[in-house]
Each structure stands twice: as C-alpha cells, then as structure tokens.
Symmetry: D2
Subunit: 289 residues, 4 copies
C-alpha cells in the first residue's frame, strides 16, 4: 500500500481506469471539484476509462446526460457500466416471458424491458396477473409506497417461486453532508430475511460487475487485468471487488472513507488497496483551483 500525492502518476501506470461514481467523480451536490482535469488528462494521454457504478435507477444514457448537465460533457453512455445493465442481461438470458414485477421508478424499469417481457410495478400486481409474474426486481428506493408495496412484495414472493434480483447492493447512500438515505439494497435485505430466501445480487463487490466491463473492453481490444486499475472511495465494494477480480486498486479519500479513518478501517476490515490517494483529481500544478 503506497500513499500517492498526485493521481496523475496512477493514470501514467495503467492503460484503463475504472472509476466508481459517487464520492469519486461526483458528490451529492454535483461534480467533484476539479474532476474535469482528470478527464482532460486521460484524453490527452490516450487512456481509456469506465465508470462502474452500483446504480440501477437510470439507463447509461440518462446517467451520461446527468454528467453533461453538470458540465462533464466528455462522458459517453458506452463508458458507463451499471448494476442495472447486469440485471437486464440476466432477464435477457434467464426469463423468457411473462411479467417482471419491480420496485422503483417507471424510468428505472424502461431500460430493462426486453422483447417478450413486460415490466409492471409491484402496485399493479393483482389476483388476475400474479400467475404470470416470472421475476421480481429491486431497482430503486423511489417510485413506490414503502408500506403498501413492501408488504405486497412479501406476499407475492410467498405465492410465486421466482428469481428475485437486487439491482443495487448498497444499503444506504449520502443525500447531504450530514444525512444518508436507505438504499434499495437495504430494503431488499429486509425482505430476504423475512421470507428466508436468497436473492440474486448484482453490483460491486460482486465480480460479475467487473467481468461485464472487462468483457465490454475485450470486444474491441486485447487487455490483461494488469493494465487496469479500479478507483473507489469504499473499501467494502470498490476495493474488495477490484482486488478479488485481480485488479490493482486505489482508495480515494474524497467520499465514504475519511482521511482520519482510512488506516483504521483498512486494518479492521483487512481490505487493502494497492494505493491511497486524496482524490481522483489530477493536480495540474499552477493551474489548480
């Protein structure tokens, strides 16, 4: 584990950079200040990047648009890999027909639709259509009535023996400098415990997320795991998952892991990043802001 002063020297050592989104490129208020420098430098050096994010609330196109609105126009949809995309792949491969019931916003459900599959919010499931429900998906913590629809979800799953997919493994996420929100991964864990089944989880630290991105790259070029570095702010997802997949890893201290806690947390969890860096912002010397 090495302490790195300037993120630039990390970019210099690898060909492809995987970035976590929240706490690395953006904050609850917008872009991470100075992150434009990093993408300028990547472009200048001809390095590739992917944003690997536990976010199933929107499609890659919508996620890219949100970066554009914030001023980071360089990010294209094909550079974004989300846990929602793995959910879509799962449905394509494993669920042939019928209804996919979901908890989330209508937007979160659109991009997982496939030919032959019909998505319906849990609130629209009833005695007439429950027998056609062939999968149930936890997509987002918004877009439904928690009390009504979580109780309904428990009872749908008691009646139907179907795959249940958790499209975002996070338990909570920051909503302001002081507060967090309960994420759909935390809600899903409650339902899992109540009905005593094991759901299918996509998202870091699970390897399938990294493999999906690795496969995307191999469609157009050859690459080895040694050429890639994973950059994230959370030991239990970004660093654990990156390490397990065989990548070098960088823990940045601009998000979940505070500078004062980093060493204690590494010792307590036994999850050791290859490098530690204050942030993923490239310091351009005199031009810094």
């Amino acid at each position: 584990m090495k302490r790195i002063e300037n993120f630039k020297s990390i970019i210099d050592k690898y060909d492809i950079i995987f970035f976590d989104a929240f706490g690395v490129i953006k904050t609850y208020q917008g872009l991470m200040p100075g992150i434009q420098n990093t993408f300028d430098y990547l472009s200048e050096q001809g390095k590739e990047y992917y944003i690997v994010t536990n976010d199933a609330s929107r499609s890659p196109l919508q996620l890219a648009e949100s970066y554009h609105r914030a001023g980071l126009t360089v990010i294209t949809p094909e550079r974004i890999v989300s846990s929602g995309m793995l959910t879509k792949e799962y449905l394509d491969l494993k669920v042939d027909d019928g209804i996919v019931a979901y908890l989330g916003t209508p937007e979160s459900s659109h991009y997982i639709e496939s030919s032959g599959l019909h998505t319906l919010p849990v609130s629209s499931i009833n005695a007439d259509n429950i027998d056609k429900v062939n999968a149930l998906i936890f997509l987002d913590d918004e877009g439904f009535n928690w009390c009504d629809d979580l109780n309904k979800t428990v009872n749908i799953l008691r009646k139907r023996t179907i795959p249940v997919i958790v499209a975002n493994t996070d338990k909570a996420y920051p909503v302001s400098i002081h507060d967090v929100g309960i994420a759909i991964g935390g809600i899903a864990a409650m339902i899992e415990s109540i009905i005593g089944r094991q759901f299918i989880r996509f998202g870091k630290p699970d390897s399938q997320m990294f493999m999906f991105t690795f496969d995307l790259i191999r469609e157009y070029r050859t690459v080895t795991k040694q050429q890639i570095v994973m950059v994230g702010d959370t030991l239990q997802t970004d660093i654990l998952g990156g390490n397990k997949f065989g990548l070098d890893t960088v823990l940045v201290l601009s998000g979940n892991t505070l500078p004062k806690d980093a060493n204690n947390r590494i010792t307590a969890t036994g999850i050791v990043p290859t490098y530690i860096c204050d942030s993923a912002v490239v310091d351009l010397g005199g031009l810094r802001f």
Copy 2:
C-alpha cells in the same frame, strides 16, 4: 416429546399455564373456536394462567378489552404480559429524562410514558429537539410513514448515541389466511443492519419475558419452574424461549406450525417441545362444538 390428544390432561399436570396469544387463543379472525372451554376448565380447576405475548402495540388494558369484545370476558389485564411492558420497565430504570422518540401509533406510546419522560413520534423530531432525544423505540408497524420516518430514524441514530429498543421481535405476522404483514421487528433489523449497531430486543424467545412473568407470580405466591408450562404455536419463540428458561413446553398445531410440518421443523431446528397437541382447546367430550 409426547403426542397429547386432549389439552385437558396438560392442564391437569401443571399449576400455571403460560399462553402465547396469536395462533393459540386467537386467530386473525377473532377467538380460536372453543378456547372458552379452556378458560372455563382452568377456572373450574383453580389453575392460573398468563398470556405472554410479543405485542407492544397496545397496553394490557387495551389487549384485555379486545378479548372482552370478542366474548372472552374472563381475561383480566393483570394476566397479560407483553413485550411492551418490558420496554416500559427499561425506560423507568434506565432513561431519566428527555424525549423518547418512537415508531408506532400514539396509542402504543401512551402506556410507556413515565414521569419525567416525554414520548414523541419520530416525525416530530427536528433540529430543535434532537439533542434531547435519549432513547428510540420500535413499537408498531402502523402509525407512521415508512419512507419518511425510517429514513429519519437512520439519521437520528447517526447523530445520537442512545439506546434503541425493539419492543416486538417478530419479523412478520399473519393478516389473513393467505397473507402476512411485515412486523416492526423486521423493520428494526433493517435499520440495525444499515447503521451497524446492536439494538435491545424484548420479547420471546428472550428470557427476560419469562422472567418478568415469573416475578409477577412470585410477588403473591411461591412457585417453581416445574409448576409452569408454556403453550405456543411457534418453535423459534414460544418453545425455544420456554425451554431455555427451564419450563416444560407444548407446541400446538393451530397456528404457525402446521400438523404436516411439525416433525420436520422440530428435526430441522433442533427445538424440541415437551409435548405436541392439536390445539389449546379443551375437549369437553359430548359438549364439543
């Protein structure tokens, strides 16, 4: 483990009977048919009874009234021991002043109020009064907005290092012949997992529930554990808790544990009742209805 035909022979062997409520004395539709016989026989034989229930939604007085309305007028409030009463004892002993924030209905909060303590729903906690919050209690799954107030609960607990009490350990409860509802114990487990703390739980199978009842009896008479039998429909709460406290136990098959599953569940869990009986209903022979 003995299979018993008629619950009467169990009453004959013990001096005091502890009954679970749901699935034993009542169902989601009202009284267990024929249970009046049991209480008539108890009275006739001069046997004592207690209803030992994981229910913090109402006071013993309110619980007794609900039996009276259903036609079982013999049950008096002092015969009911609820996990809510342990919560009240905890607050009396351990929280001297300030605000006790709660999730539940206003009715569920009234009977836990003590001199010096002020109960407030989580929805009424704000920047002005949060510093006075000295305990937080999960009382009931009704009476609050799940989305707003559960998110608020997480953030209150991130700011205040205070005891958190879960007044009902059940994860789910039956609401109709086919459906269950998520209980406050299941919701509390989700919050506990999200914030990474260990809450204080009252309710079966925890021994403190049995000890509280045992102490109530010892206030007016001498008694040994051998004189008491615990009757319940759930292995993991009634039978495990009763066994651990040192009581003989009866599993009745009129609720959570179906006749066809009883032996498999006993083998799978390793929780062995002293007796198995179809129900807690005393069969009065020719008089049966």
Copy 3:
C-alpha cells in the same frame, strides 16, 4: 455517561456490585494489581459483591480456589455466578435421564452432573450409546481433539434431535499480552452454522445470567435493580447485558476496551455505560502502590 476518577465513589452509590472476572479482577497473568484494595473497601463499607463470569470450565469452588491461590482469599464460592451454573440448572430442569455428551475437560463436566444424568465426552459416544444421548454441551475449548471430536459432534447432531447448550458465549479470550485463544463459543457458532440449528446459549449479554444472580440475592434479602451496578471491561457482554437487565453499568478500561478506543467503540456500537472508570481498583490515596 460520566467519567469517574476513583472507583470508590461508585461503590459508595450502590449496595451490591456485580464484577466481570477477566479484565476487571484478574488478567491473563494473575490478579489485577491493586484489586485487593477494592475488596477491602467493599468489606469495610459492608457492601456485597458477585462475580458474574462467562466461564464454564470450572465449578465455583474451583474458581474461588484459583483466587485464593493468587492471594485474594476473601472470595467465597457462593459469590461466583458462572454460565456453567445456568447450564447445570437447565439440565436439572429439562433433561431427565440418559447421557449428556460434552466437549471440554473432565473437570468442566463434573459439576454439571445431576442425579440420573451421566456425562460422557464426545469422544466416548459410539453406535452403542448414541441413542441414549439426550443433550450435548459445549463447555470448554480444552480437553478434546478438535479435528476428531468436532467432526464427531456434527454427525451426532445430525442423528439426534436434542438440545445443544453453549455454556460460554465468548468467541475468543486473551492468553497473553499479544495473543488470543479461540473460545468454545466461537467453535459452537461454527457447528451451529454447519448443521443449521439454533443452540441454547448461556452467558452475558443474555439476561438469564443476571436474573440468576438477582434471584440468588433475593433468596436472603430484598433488593431492587437500582441498588446494583454491573462492572465490566466489554461493551458487548457486560455493558449490553447489564443495561438490558435494567442495571446501571461501569465500563472499566483495564481489559478488552482500551482507553484510546472507548469513545469510538461506544459511538460505533451504541452501547452506552452509565459510567467510565480507568479500572475497578479503589485508590486509597497516599497508600496507592
């Protein structure tokens, strides 16, 4: 939570003191230096004490003798309450006949023997006597071959649906200034997970331990929970258990919880002692050594 300079002022406020043993009265090397002062002061002030310990490896008589050998001759067996004593009470009440198989030393098994019950080490269970095994007990991490006897335990429990008692809930215990040993509670949790059953656990933080001691006192005097304080070095056992039972609690920093970590651990766990004190040693002023 108050920071207390001298443990003497705590003794002055209560009538009965419950002490944890390890990290409070003794260390892995012998007596806690200066602890004799505390017992002298207790005696002088006419205060009572109990040692409430998660230790099932020896009888109270043997435990008292070990204090005597170390020079603390004031401690009598009837002042020691161990999780082994709860195990013995359980067997007396709940297991009528047959064999009680155990993991531990022969010494640890002697004092749990009752009339009618025969204890045998797991290593002595075979095809001829397995059908008479009516309970299995985890007593101590010593006295058996881990590989042979743990594999045998798993297979005994697959064949016999019997109560399993874990007489010590600790997962590890200190054996030197740098090293810990795996305790029988950690081993039992592994077996529990492998066979998928729920064992019966005695020992702090479980309330039954405190209730047992409370009942011992009530046999000869009246007492309320407000007259008692629990003193321990471990938040998750001594303080959590004492709090839940309704006692005031003192966290001492002479054992498991280091002075530099105390506040962080309290915040992280949400387990708040009534007081914090450097140690349970009474400072006699000019006489200090």
Copy 4:
C-alpha cells in the same frame, strides 16, 4: 422448470456441459455408476464438457489422475476447473513477493506456488518470518493440527493486515452414506467471525468460477452463455451460481438433494433450476446396466 427423464435429451440441446464433481460424477465411494455412458455419449456427439468443482485440495492433474484410477480415463486435466485455480490466479495477479501461509496439505500448496512466492504451512510461521507473510490461504481441512494451527491463524491475522483467501466455500462434505466432514470453508467462516474481517472466497456460487471457465473456452472458440448448461446436485452452489451467471441449469437428484425433498427445497430457497433430472447418467436403453 421441467422434469426430464433421460439426461441424453439435455446433452442434445447444448454444446458445452459444465458438471459439478461430487454427487454428479462421483460419490464418496468412487464413480457414479453408469457415468461412463455420459462421457461416451458426449464424445460421440462431439460435445464439450468441463468439471467445475469447489476443490482446492489437489491440482487439476491430480484430480484427473483420480478419475483415471477409478476407470474414467477420458477426463483430462484441462477439462477441470477448480476453486484452487482461481486462488492461484489471485496470487499471481495480486501478491508480488514474500510468504503465503496456508492451512492444508503440502500437496494442496504445491500447485499454487508462483515465481517469487514461497508457501509455508501456518505451523512454520514464527516471529522471524511473520513480517514476510503477505497472504494467508485456507486450502483444505487436512494436513494440519486444528487446535494449534487455527489458534495460530487467528493471531497471525491479528498482527498482519493481509488478504485472506478461502479456496473452497463449502461448509461440509459427505464422507460416507451417513456422515459428513467439516470442510475448510466452514472453518474459515469461524475464523472470519472471530477476527471480524471479510475474507475473499472463491468457488461456486460465486460468478468468478463460471467466468474463469467461460474465459478458458473463449481462448480457443467463440461461445455464448446460451450454449452452456450447468449440471449440479446442490441448489445453493451449482444452481444459484449457474443461474446468476446466466446459464441454464440442471438439478440432479443423485447427491445432496434427495428426490423427496427437491420441490420443497426449491420452494423454500427460491432457487429454481431450468430442469430436474434423476442423475447425469445417460440411459442407453437396452444397454443399461
């Protein structure tokens, strides 16, 4: 989910078959009777196969030799993918130098050795070399003294913040018709719980095992997930893992999952195979033995 009479019709639908080893191809006594038919038919039809096994106790070469000795000479080492191979890949990518401490037999450690890395049994770690230990691996339940070396492992991990790899996730494995043995995955879970860290686990149901095999195939041919079927006897590993990776799955009833329990277990776990089949043995009609 379809019930299939003859495994032959499954082979006919796919190009590549992934087999679990234990309970599918072999039993605790040797080869699954009749399994030679299956491999003859695969060869005749020009279908490919891989054995995907949670076994880190031996190298693929040694595993192939054990099939040869049992009479199944067709199985070549390059057709065997074990969780031990993922462990070796991890060490190659992530641990540059120093000592890799292990629990297991010397044979299990040989094939994970890489240039620059030195493997040493936990029993050989001491004050002189502990600072060079850069990883610790749980390989096999044999080859070490459980009491001495598990205690030592706990203390090594308290002193060294290093990656810990569990090369076999199984908790238990069958050793005879009636008995099971504790597997290294169960032992590792105990150590993980005692020291409070999260280890890296390789082996089904983890996706990395399936991805590794999928990548092996793609080195010499193109393939889609739809061309592959995973055959196994265990819902929680083979079927859950295969489903999650996007493969069709076959539950065979010749091992862990008994014919009488299959439907109940599927309903209870929510893990649904594409097909159920009595065994992976191809029935050659009149030629059956």
